[in-house]
Symmetry: C2
Subunit: 177 residues, 2 copies
């Protein structure tokens, strides 16, 4: 199951409109506008977190573990839309870098409880501040329409979910060649 993805390397460059190129139907698409915005946001995220070896996904995992100490690896994957194996690799990286650690979970010997290390908690404070500043600057640039945009994105996520999970719209994965 492969294709065009959500979590990939930071883009080589910006998807800025190139003068002289006709974008045709793309200009009118909400999906394309979303893609362009995310492309730009990703690049700015990497810039804002240059002092850490961070990615939007890793950052989200750190926040989730911080706020839900002892959470299972599988639950982390579920919250992030990842397969179990993806959650494993992500957790491996976080532990290897000293951000988090696996501890025995009470009750079920099959599972780990994920926790931030002391160093991880300490480092996360500054990292969260950097991400918050990056996000705040964007929101500020949008002026009074910022909050409406965020609300709109949340509605959009909901609408797309409803549409792709509707009973007569069978979900689909990419076909093998």
């Amino acid at each position: 199951m492969k294709t065009d993805s959500l979590d990939a390397p930071p883009p080589e460059g910006l998807m800025l409109p190139v003068p002289g190129v006709d974008y045709g139907a793309l200009e009118g698409l909400l999906g394309y506008a979303l893609r362009r915005a995310q492309n730009a946001l990703y690049l700015d995220f990497y810039r804002a977190t240059a002092a850490w070896d961070m990615s939007p996904q890793r950052f989200a995992a750190l926040v989730l573990i911080a706020r839900n100490p002892g959470m299972r690896q599988g639950l982390l994957g579920q919250a992030m839309g990842l397969h179990r194996s993806g959650a494993l690799r992500l957790t491996d990286w976080l532990t290897a870098q000293g951000w988090a650690e696996r501890r025995d979970a009470p009750g079920d010997a099959r599972t780990w409880g994920l926790h931030l290390t002391s160093a991880g908690k300490r480092r996360l404070v500054k990292l969260e501040a950097a991400v918050a500043a990056h996000d705040r600057a964007l929101l500020a640039a949008l002026g009074e329409q910022g909050p409406a945009l965020k609300a709109g994105l949340e509605r959009l996520a909901w609408a797309a979910t409803a549409q792709s999970t509707a009973p007569d719209n069978k979900p689909r994965r990419r076909q093998p060649p």
Copy 2:
């Protein structure tokens, strides 16, 4: 240069809020809302284009080539934020699948002119209709705030670009280990 990316496989699952999980600072971030929306939109794009072996990126390339017949491979990459080698692979796939073809470009013997094949043009009509329907349904679900959302996304892309390319904010790529 690797990490978390824009074009990767369709996500395993939706990034829906999981009951009982505390999302902490993520809930307030514009960037996280954007990510969630794109996750859902990607999944719905794949559903809507199930009759083709399509991805948002491939679709964008097809539209660009259709509207700019004879465009160079490098220009395609530039418009899509891709490295030359990425544009090459993308073009290889489009030609292998019979969507497009490389023709000699007049004037410069180093470059190709990219064109849709006749079959590609024919197939693109239905594909564009399917994508447009998918996008229109989302826009409809947003009601009268749809156009504002699209405009907001365009402003957001602009703001993030301005922020990451500001003179005192040096752009950055992920560091090697």
